[in-house]
């Protein structure tokens, strides 16, 4: 038991912990009550002393703090054992009957437990319960306890529901209604707390006064619609108020759900349609309607939130660009509906064709697609997007570019409509006259183009477009020479262009007196009759081609002369060699002259004899550098051509001897290549002056890659010996000339063996070195 210290005359009823518990609940409760009362009062009276939003936030915070405080109290009571007592009193409060109410009514007037102001009795009562939290103190007043138990959870639940299920009507109504028990509870609690009878009476009086003032204020301001005001957070928009007059709150609201969009769309079918079709501005919106169009903001509140100037028209799928920016909304949106009323209309409108707003001044239905030429930047130049070349069927080229528009597009007959842009003929004859008297057909463009009618601009190309191509000298002839105008001085355009003969004889005479049967053009060109321009080519057109030196012979040497060459003989001319030339071989060579000679000349390089073709021995790359006499010896004043050796060994004697092992009388072992490799396997006939590397690869081809190195090893090894031998030879030449000559011969012999018999060569060199060093 807690001993309560008494100081002076005052009564200290609670321990500080209990006071703390009490305050932790009382302060949020009072805040809840006050803010709730303020919100309700302001609504009922239609006044705004404190912002509704501020009150609402304070109210919510206070509610949450109170929930935490009560929970804390309950937990403490559970831990310290007061919970059982709590339950007992709760049961007791639930068994409350009519008698108890009567008793309660009498309490303020002295017959209740608080009526006795004896401090001793109070202390006795309180002491008995001091160990439980102060919450339990209310239980002395069962009605208060009852209200506490009943309304507190309901109030919390509905309050939370209001926070998390916006605009659901059920929680809203319940929460507002809980204001009544909350008031009663507070009143009773205060009443219970005021121990002095006078204080209680004053309290009752004050409460009565407040009640009368509030009721009066409500009645005075607008009792009409108080129910709606008490529950609704604000006045409905005027139209909505009208629309919900019959249906009431439930036209839009539901008990436990937020107001569905269907409630809005039932009355706004156009919006419903565009949202269903996903067109227009609303077609792109998601989320509930109330996100944008929350109501209860006053009769005259603008719940459309439509800002005409700031509206992002792109969202309505009609970007406002260019000149459209300067147009006021009403210019397009002031529309007369099917109801005949003209006002601004936004929903469900479609502006697709320009002609929805603009008039087609071109008087032609095919001009309906304005955007082909016009853009929103403006109708006229320079904003006109029309490009005659691109957008019309008639490209403007040449002189047409410079022609004024009116020449082809005559101005409109009547005012108000544009020039004639459509239906203007595209053919030349639609504008121009034909000077050819229609002899050349209607298609002017075959010859003429837009740059001009005459001169270079005429697209007619005689060589391309007529059957008679002008070549050679013909292009220099004046047109009138062939196309004679009908009368002198008349324009060329009027001359005859068709049906003229094209053969030479139509204009020219034959000087050959008809001896040549062929057509003129076989020999003559358009350029000139004679000289270099003569088309006739002896080599191509005669049976006797002029080659080599024949080309330099004058024509008259063979074609017997006449005063003019044109009159000479051109048929039955001599063609055999002997007809003109003498045989210097005096008939010894039976073959035809042309077997060895041709027109290039009789001798030297002009001789047609080719060794590789005409003899049995082919001159390969190895032999190509040799002179003729290297093989064909001169014997007196004749050269021996037969018999000439054709086998390698017949000329290359040393190599042929080295392989079997012979050199300068010495006989040694044969080289392994003897009889196994042919000369050409190492000495490729196609290669002139082969490199050492090539020989090395030749070794590799038959043996293996290491023989390539062996080749170089041996050549170097033998070359070293040769160098040493030659050094000694140089020494000997100073001292002993005869021995030097002998040594030189031996060196030559060893060198001649080369690699044809490596071991023989090695021995020869070693012998030379051994002998010369020993002496």
């Amino acid at each position: 038991m807690i001993q309560l210290p008494l100081k002076n005359n005052s009564v200290s009823r609670f321990v500080p912990l209990e006071v703390a518990y009490h305050l932790s609940q009382a302060i949020p409760y009072l805040m809840l009550f006050c803010t709730g009362a303020a919100m309700l009062g302001q609504r009922l009276t239609g006044t705004t002393l404190v912002g509704h939003r501020v009150l609402s936030i304070v109210h919510q915070i206070a509610g949450l703090v109170l929930v935490v405080a009560v929970a804390q109290t309950l937990i403490v009571s559970l831990v310290y054992g007061g919970f059982r007592e709590l339950l007992k009193r709760m049961r007791k409060s639930l068994s409350w009957g009519l008698r108890d109410l009567v008793w309660a009514a009498k309490v303020p007037f002295g017959s209740g437990p608080g009526g006795d102001t004896s401090s001793g009795k109070v202390r006795r009562v309180l002491r008995r319960m001091a160990f439980v939290p102060s919450l339990v103190i209310y239980a002395e007043v069962p009605i208060a306890y009852f209200f506490m138990v009943m309304f507190f959870p309901v109030s919390v639940a509905s309050g939370l529901a209001m926070m998390f299920v916006p605009s659901a009507l059920g929680p809203w109504i319940v929460h507002v209604v809980t204001f009544v028990p909350a008031s009663i509870f507070l009143t009773l609690h205060l009443y219970r707390a005021f121990v002095y009878r006078k204080t209680r009476l004053i309290q009752m009086g004050v409460l009565l006064a407040i009640g009368i003032i509030v009721a009066g204020a409500v009645w005075a301001c607008s009792f009409e619609g108080a129910k709606e005001r008490a529950i609704a957070p604000g006045d409905l928009y005027a139209g909505h108020a009208e629309a919900t007059r019959a249906g009431g709150c439930f036209t839009c609201h539901r008990w436990f759900q937020p107001p569905p969009d269907s409630a809005c769309l039932d009355c706004h079918p156009k919006i419903a349609r565009v949202m269903a079709q996903k067109v227009g501005y609303h077609g792109q919106q998601t989320g509930p309607c109330r996100d944008c169009h929350a109501d209860h903001q006053g009769r005259q509140a603008d719940i459309r939130h439509f800002d005409g100037a700031g509206f992002n028209h792109n969202l309505a799928r009609f970007p406002i660009d260019g000149k459209h920016r300067r147009v006021s909304c009403r210019a397009c949106h002031l529309q007369t509906g099917p109801d005949g009323v003209t006002r601004t209309r936004y929903i469900g409108l479609r502006f697709e064709a320009c002609t929805d707003c603009h008039i087609n001044v071109h008087n032609d239905p095919s001009a309906a697609d304005c955007r082909r030429c016009h853009s929103v930047e403006g109708w006229r130049r320079p904003r006109l997007a029309f490009d005659h070349d691109r957008d019309s069927r008639f490209r403007l080229e040449g002189r047409h570019v410079d022609a004024t528009c009116e020449k082809c597009h005559p101005p409109a007959a009547s005012a108000g409509s544009g020039p004639q842009l459509y239906g203007v003929g595209a053919r030349c004859a639609d504008c121009h006259q034909d000077p050819h008297r229609q002899t050349l057909g209607a298609d002017c463009q075959r010859c003429h183009n837009e740059s001009a009618w005459t001169g270079r601009a005429v697209a007619f190309r005689h060589n391309r477009d007529s059957r008679f191509a002008l070549r050679g000298a013909h292009p220099t002839v004046a047109c009138e020479q062939c196309h004679k105008p009908p009368k002198p001085g008349a324009a060329l355009a009027e001359a005859t262009f068709r049906g003229l003969a094209t053969d030479c004889a139509a204009c020219h005479k034959d000087p050959h007196q008809d001896t040549l049967a062929a057509a003129c053009t076989t020999c003559h060109s358009d350029t000139r009759w004679t000289g270099k321009d003569l088309l006739f080519q002896h080599n191509r057109d005669s049976e006797y081609p002029l080659l080599g030196k024949h080309r330099a012979v004058a024509c008259a040497k063979c074609h017997k002369p006449a005063p003019r060459l044109a009159d000479a003989h051109f048929v039955d001319t001599p063609s055999r060699c002997a007809d003109c030339h003498r045989d210097p071989h005096l008939g010894k060579i039976k073959r035809d002259c042309t077997a060895c000679h041709d027109e290039k000349g009789w001798k030297g390089n002009a001789l047609r004899f080719t060794h590789n073709r005409d003899s049995a021995f082919k001159i390969d790359a190895l032999h190509s550098g040799l002179s003729c006499v290297a093989c064909h010896e001169k014997q007196g004043d004749t050269t021996r051509y037969k018999p000439t050796p054709t086998v390698c060994q017949q000329c290359h004697l040393t190599a042929a001897q080295s392989l079997p092992g012979q050199s300068a009388g010495r006989i040694d072992k044969p080289d392994p290549h003897l009889g196994r490799a042919t000369c050409v396997q190492c000495h490729a006939p196609a290669v002139n002056s082969p490199t050492p590397d090539r020989y090395a690869r030749t070794c590799q081809n038959c043996h293996n890659a290491r023989y390539r190195d062996l080749y170089f090893d041996w050549t170097k090894s033998l070359a070293d010996r040769e160098t040493r031998a030659r050094k000694r030879l140089a020494g000997l030449q100073r001292d002993n000339a005869p021995r030097a000559a002998a040594l030189a011969r031996r060196i030559a012999a060893a060198k001649a063996v080369g690699l044809h018999n490596i071991q023989l060569a090695r021995k020869l060199w070693d012998d030379i070195l051994a002998e010369s060093s020993s002496k």
Partner: protein, 326 residues
């Protein structure tokens, strides 16, 4: 306190100490068998002290003459060409990626250490089972029974061997080192006789390195088909390498056809050469044919397949047959 046994810990250690001393002394005395000091390698003669038969075989083998034979000396211009030297006197192979030339004892050619010396040990394909091994032994049968081991020097032949797609082809060692069942070492005195007596015989290889070994079934066969008096001689090479093979020197195999019973003795009728170089050899598993019209009066042909050395000397007959003329 009375002890029930006279064993002391030191007594147990005694045999181990003795064994250790024996091992130590043996390894000390025989270290020259595996030691490589500067340019000095163990000599074949030292190996031959125990491996008597192997040494004897090797002495007569081409490997022993690899350095000293005159053809080699001439072909390298008296040992002048460095690239030839490494395979004719190879240094031990254990580290080298390619054969290197020894600096000492070159005259012993391809000698014991060339193949068997590895760092501080002697390697081979057979497990030692003797009483004592005077040198450390490393056993690596996979390496020593592989043709590639020989192919480090005989590269061309190895290439042919690898390219021949014969089933179950023999390795180099299968033919050129004939199998023999014997002990690894042979006794030369009373002491060694005791030690060798403890050794068991095993399947080994002769180190003769024969060029033309003996076969149960000749791998190179010659056959003759007749059409009238025209004979078609076919040589089939069933060897797993070319006929002839070898990378260097003069390698010639000749087919000689003689008229055996001619008046006054045999008369050569034809001779065809197979040379290693220039595509003249018969690749492994392939055949080559020649045609020959036999002259009248010939009743029987003698056909010989001959391996010839340089200068036509030291010819060895590989195959010989007599064929009656139908």
């Amino acid at each position: 306190m009375r002890s029930r046994t006279s064993w002391k810990p030191s007594d147990l250690a005694a045999p181990f100490v003795l064994l250790a001393m024996l091992t130590l002394s043996l390894s000390c005395t025989m270290r020259q068998l595996t030691r490589v000091e500067g340019d000095s390698f163990p000599r074949a003669a030292a190996c031959g002290a125990c491996h008597v038969e192997i040494h004897r075989e090797w002495i007569g083998s081409p490997h022993a003459r690899a350095w000293t034979n005159p053809h080699y000396r001439q072909a390298t211009d008296n040992y002048r060409f460095q690239k030839c030297l490494s395979c004719h006197a190879p240094a031990p192979q254990y580290t080298a990626t390619r054969p290197a030339v020894r600096t000492t004892g070159r005259e012993t050619g391809v000698t014991c250490v060339s193949c068997h010396l590895e760092e501080g040990t002697l390697a081979g394909p057979i497990d030692p089972d003797g009483l004592v091994a005077p040198h450390p032994v490393k056993v690596d049968p996979a390496r020593y029974r592989d043709s590639r081991f020989c192919g480090r020097c005989h590269e061309g032949t190895l290439k042919q061997w690898l390219a021949s797609d014969m089933p179950d082809r023999s390795t180099c060692q299968d033919c050129h080192m004939p199998a023999v069942h014997r002990k690894m070492t042979q006794a030369t005195g009373p002491m060694s006789r005791v030690i060798v007596a403890f050794e068991r015989a095993a399947d080994q290889k002769r180190h003769t390195f024969e060029l033309t070994p003996q076969w149960d079934e000749p791998p190179v066969t010659v056959s003759v088909a007749w059409a009238g008096r025209a004979a078609t001689v076919t040589v089939i090479n069933k060897l797993p390498h070319n006929l002839p093979t070898g990378d260097f020197g003069v390698r010639v195999v000749a087919v000689e056809v003689i008229d055996i019973a001619h008046d006054g003795g045999a008369r050569p009728l034809a001779q065809w050469e197979l040379t290693r170089s220039g595509g003249g050899a018969i690749p492994a598993g392939q055949a080559k044919q020649w045609r020959l019209v036999v002259p009248d009066g010939t009743r029987e042909l003698g056909i010989r397949l001959v391996r010839r050395g340089r200068d036509g000397a030291d010819a060895v007959t590989i195959f010989e047959m007599q064929v009656p003329v139908p």
